[in-house]
Symmetry: C2
Subunit: 389 residues, 2 copies
Amino acid sequence: MAASRKQKVVVLGSTGSIGVNTLDVIARHPDRFEVIALTAYRNVELLAEQTKRIAPKQVVVADREARERLASLLKGSSPEIGTGVEDLMRAATLKEVDIVVSAIVGAAGLVPTLAAVQEGKRVALANKETLVMAGRLVMEKAKEHGAEIIPVDSEHSAIYQCLAGEDPGKVRRLVLTASGGPFREMTRNEMERVRPENALQHPRWEMGQKITIDSATLMNKGLEVIEARWLFDLPVEQIDIVVHPESIVHSMVEFRDGSVLAQMGLPDMRVPIAYALGYPERLESGVEFLNVIEQGPLTFEQPDRERFPAIALAEDALRQGGLMPAVLNAANEVAVSSFLQGRIGFLQIPRLIRAVMEKSRNRNYETIEEVLRTDLETRKTAREEIGRL
Amino acid sequence: MAASRKQKVVVLGSTGSIGVNTLDVIARHPDRFEVIALTAYRNVELLAEQTKRIAPKQVVVADREARERLASLLKGSSPEIGTGVEDLMRAATLKEVDIVVSAIVGAAGLVPTLAAVQEGKRVALANKETLVMAGRLVMEKAKEHGAEIIPVDSEHSAIYQCLAGEDPGKVRRLVLTASGGPFREMTRNEMERVRPENALQHPRWEMGQKITIDSATLMNKGLEVIEARWLFDLPVEQIDIVVHPESIVHSMVEFRDGSVLAQMGLPDMRVPIAYALGYPERLESGVEFLNVIEQGPLTFEQPDRERFPAIALAEDALRQGGLMPAVLNAANEVAVSSFLQGRIGFLQIPRLIRAVMEKSRNRNYETIEEVLRTDLETRKTAREEIGRL
């Protein structure tokens, strides 16, 4: 790359696992990137440390209490500290910014991410909810405003990498790989008795609690099917899931000529992060290289749709379209947090989601406000449903 | 693609396995390709059948005897029938032709292929010797005359596909996969006693006798390393071989960011053929789709360089550069045909090649004539060496 000006980056959700890895990648390329703003929720200790190291112009936290704790940790030598959604959106849409890393977990990531899209930024997208809840609208806005959305989870980044230089019209099938989660080999009876602590030991990737439970129910794959539908503009019928316990093949693209491209590597989020930051250039990511010989055999199996009904629920929500994926997502968030609190059993997660979906009247949407309203209403419905169980 | 004029194709070596598969692919795209000329050596029966079906303007065979047999099979309704190298070169360089499929087996393919390159054609390259014997010169001429060389063997096509849309400067390593050949699990003692008929049963691909023996000695991988060096302009140190007995991953590219792209599929030459004909478009190839689940585990192992010294011989020839790869190739051809005739043992193939390489004074070359002279001289040396064994 010609030595042009540095690219200015905002990291939304800098204290989560994606955020931390993003800062690690950026630190390897000081001549190329400059971090302008960091945002976090309430992990002000880590945010203070990051702020001292990186010296962003702006930081944003959840609320005034978090701001005060952060200010006292930074002792006067503090940048501007914003709070709440308004300031989050301001950080996501700063004029000078080139790249917005969207790494806030959950529905809270949707609004600032959409704001960045509407400013025509490059969005390195790790927040699943953006596309799960409002994929159609977000992709329309991206097109309208010339925003690039480059995925930062390993599966969609793999597909994005396989599609570089290819004609999307020649794709026959996307194949999302799934580790299968910790309960891949459990019987239904054993799954009935699973406790949160059984699920929170995920074999391959280090992740937050919500995502860990999603990967135990395979809802994470269901959500990824919805994301892939919007990112790659393909119908659900052309998006498959294959269980691949070794987590080395991060996903595949099958073309109409019979050729399959697969992207592989050790499981390390810095590869997709570096790819999204540098695209179309591949940047040094600090990741260890795969030794395919030491790795041992790569195996693939069909996901068990009986034991893991979350997949079919997500596919069903996608087929119904409109607001139904937002319903699915909200019901799942409530179900997972209820499971983590010990209020419902593991197999009740998909049951609850199905019940909520059946209760919800679906319709199309035009605005993000409708999506957010549906999200809130669905959470209420889901909580009532749980009361009834 | 816009409905432009049909692309005109010449198939050099139309009666071999690549030639037959090429005509199969072309027959699937009658609106896109038109076959102008076919050439064969002495399989006039098949050539006659192809000529009747396809009605090329020109056919070329080895000699007058073959021409007379062909003419009598075609009974008057025959196109122009040429013979020998001169007519082969004329077919390879016809003004109107867009694509030359170079599928002649052995050193005989070099001269007509180079001629096509010098006319700036797209060359769909299946003939290994072109790059093994004279890779530096051929690639220089391709650049000078704007010829595209698109590989038609599965390994190099895989790498070509993985590199589409990528910056070659970001490649850390090419990984050529090898089935391991029929003797992958034999001890050295067992290999000492191998007979031609043991080698001629190759597990995965249907191939000619020469290539089958090369894949039993792993010399085919050695030759592919040399080809890859020129096709992708990377030093031998960045080209690795991994044994992959299932022959599903056709090769891989490892990038500097830790990401690995792999091209996979059922073993069927029509995929690389269709890719080379249609590039950058992927054409329907008639190939069955891979079911990665039914396929079973994909395994990878280190090639045993002790039992298969051909790999090190090829790498050594490449490091020496100049005419040494041509020496390696000629010595190998003589060794293989002597083995097939029962004159030398299986493990004497690499021993003979090494002896011939040690006898040959290496130097750089400027012209194809020097390469061809070295080829002839080396064959003579190799035959003398065998007499001495």
